[in-house]
Assembly symmetry: C2
Homo-oligomer: 389 residues x 2
């Protein structure tokens, strides 16, 4: 059973082939699990072995290639015909003698693609340097080129059905964020709060269950709030600690991320000011969003706002999000940062997360929003403030 | 604060450099997050952007390279001196103009390594084809070679301190597995059981908290038990369903995986027989384990056992495990399968997971074991049987 209608998948495939044609690509090898899912529905935790989707411009259906024991997962979750599900045997797995890309090359030769222009996602996690070496060795007459993010850019505008799933994810994170904030207090161990966060994320709300998020819950506290990607410990929270919660709801692989910051006890005046600055900046940025604005204009609105208060911030303040797999829920397309001239269009979804980090602590307050016909819609419903416990 | 003593990290680094020398490698670029952690303690969810550890044979300390906002995480978690923590600016992140490997190449040139033999982990998730292209372009006078698994093979024999962490993980999974089995019944949604599993995994036992596992909890039921890497849904379990639980405990990034199978209601005679065959096979394999035996001999003992009962199984039945990051808790070194002549030695740790899948369902019953001086020690403590609810 696929998540979307076959018509929707075929429409996505059509757009992909059109873009391949525009870029002079005959064959696109897709290893990004989100892109594999996007085009076929394929959904399993099998991306720790080599697998890919082969889109051949001249063939109607893509071909799934993966490990033998995952063939049934492809049958269960994709709309592909059985003859387009091509498993390799287990002796290819982590072998020093055989490589799954040899198997892929043999299929391409068999399909008459050995002298064509073949693109692969050169800069994705699951397309290794070894993959490219094996393919170029086995297909000496092919022309290889980089197809990184080709499908990602098609994903950037969501269908209404995709928005529906993202909104369910947003409802989940609204609920989870309040539960987490409620649970945090001095003396409670970080991991015990994380345990409750997971429980709430996966239980879901309104009868919709939660899926695993592509980044684990992040919950740095105290000094570690300026090391935003540290994961939890089993130490207790301390009185006076600032705590950053960077979480997401996820439903059927669609994400709605959200960050809030709280202080256990009395915040310092500096912390309160920093939170004010962050919130003012977010609101300034949200205010200008509408179709036709560029990604960099959104960042500029934020930057000008915080500059008026005397602050500078050097990293990007947001990115496109939606369907994804570990290790990232970001889509690797448009970023809200200087130089990004992507024009915002209805049904784009961004996570705006302009963290500000000082020497000994940091603040993160974020929103995930959908671009609407006239402005933007914030998806979660959690008070935008510095929470105080 | 590092998890292990600086002495232990330096000992690991010494072994790495020795192996580099034996293989004629001057510089090793390490992108596998588990290998980065193994040598320095580095531990953060930052592997979704490019980062690496540079081990230069002639320099005392490795060099950490990563994104600017993760510099503090490197300072918090590693034993490295500040001058060996080298962050790149945020405009390198997912840019189409600049690539983090250009930054890496500049460091290597600066350190006089531009004409040396440089190895990288060509077939790991986090070393992309693009990485290699950028490095070879920027360092035309260097010789490049494949260093995949060089550090992984050093990880295969655990220190007593590592075994201690793995045993805590085993205690966690013993507790979690029983809770999960207890919770499953007809009418309960899959995701509600998963929520409880996460809660138990992260809460931990005996005062030790749990860390995130490198593979999410897998819980296929009914027909989907023969698609072992499908993740959960929000559908309820049904009477008569077989259910496979493939889970792990994790403590400070060290794993102890475990699988069990249960049946809701009355198992068919075929299911009972299949479970018997699987258990007999595991026990035959565990029985012969001791230092000096090869990995393939363990598989052979299993295969001969199930063949006596008329069954064949074609994939490998286990792999080395321990320290890891998503998407896999397997170490990508020794496998229990034909052709693997790795000689078992004390303090190696394997997950033996010989699943058997028939047309419409499958059985998985596994054990994680440590090789001892005289045999092996099974780490979790969960009855080895087909559970019936």
């Amino acid at each position: 059973m696929t998540t979307f209608s076959i018509k929707e998948y075929k429409n996505r495939l059509h757009k992909t082939k059109k873009e391949m044609e525009a870029q002079g690509i005959d064959v696109l090898l897709i290893t990004d699990p989100a892109n594999m899912n996007y085009l076929t529905g394929y959904n399993a935790w099998s991306f720790y072995v080599h697998q890919l989707l082969m889109v051949i411009g001249s063939e109607e259906e893509p071909i799934w290639v993966g490990r033998g024991i995952d063939e049934t997962a492809a049958q269960f979750t994709t709309w592909l015909n059985d003859e387009n599900i091509m498993p390799y045997t287990d002796d290819y797995v982590q072998s020093t003698i055989k490589h799954p890309m040899d198997f892929v090359a043999a299929i391409l030769l068999d399909k008459g693609q050995g002298n064509k222009t073949i693109a692969a996602e050169y800069d994705t996690y699951y397309f290794t340097a070894k993959n490219l070496i094996q393919l170029t060795n086995q297909l000496p007459n092919a022309t290889f080129k980089d197809g990184t993010s080709l499908v990602n850019w098609i994903r950037i505008i969501k269908s209404d059905q995709e928005i529906k799933l993202i909104k369910r994810a947003a409802n989940i994170i609204t609920n989870t964020m309040y539960q987490a904030i409620d649970r945090i207090e001095a003396g409670v161990r970080e991991n015990d709060v994380i345990a409750d966060i997971y429980h709430s994320q996966i239980t879901g709300v309104d009868g919709y269950g939660g899926d695993y998020t592509s980044i684990v819950p992040l919950l740095p506290s105290g000094e570690q709030t300026n090391a935003c990607h540290l994961t939890w410990t089993d130490e207790p929270f301390k009185d006076g600690d600032p705590v950053i919660l960077e979480l997401a709801g996820c439903h059927q692989r669609y994400h709605s991320p959200l960050a809030r910051t709280l202080v256990i006890g009395k915040p310092t005046p500096e912390m309160e000011e920093l939170a004010d600055v962050a919130i003012e900046g977010i609101e300034a940025a949200l205010d200008i969003i509408k179709p036709g604005i560029t990604a960099e204009e959104v960042e500029l609105a934020w930057r000008q706002s915080i500059q008026r208060r005397g602050y500078e911030k050097e990293s990007r303040i947001g990115y496109s999000t939606g369907l994804n797999y570990p290790p990232d829920w970001g889509e690797h397309t448009a970023s809200l940062r200087p130089g990004d001239q992507t024009i915002l269009q209805p049904n784009m979804v961004f996570h705006m997360i302009p963290g500000i980090w000082l020497d000994s602590y940091g603040i993160e307050i974020s929103e995930t929003f959908r671009v609407t016909e006239t402005g933007c819609e914030v998806l979660a419903n959690v008070e935008r403030k510095l929470f105080i416990k």
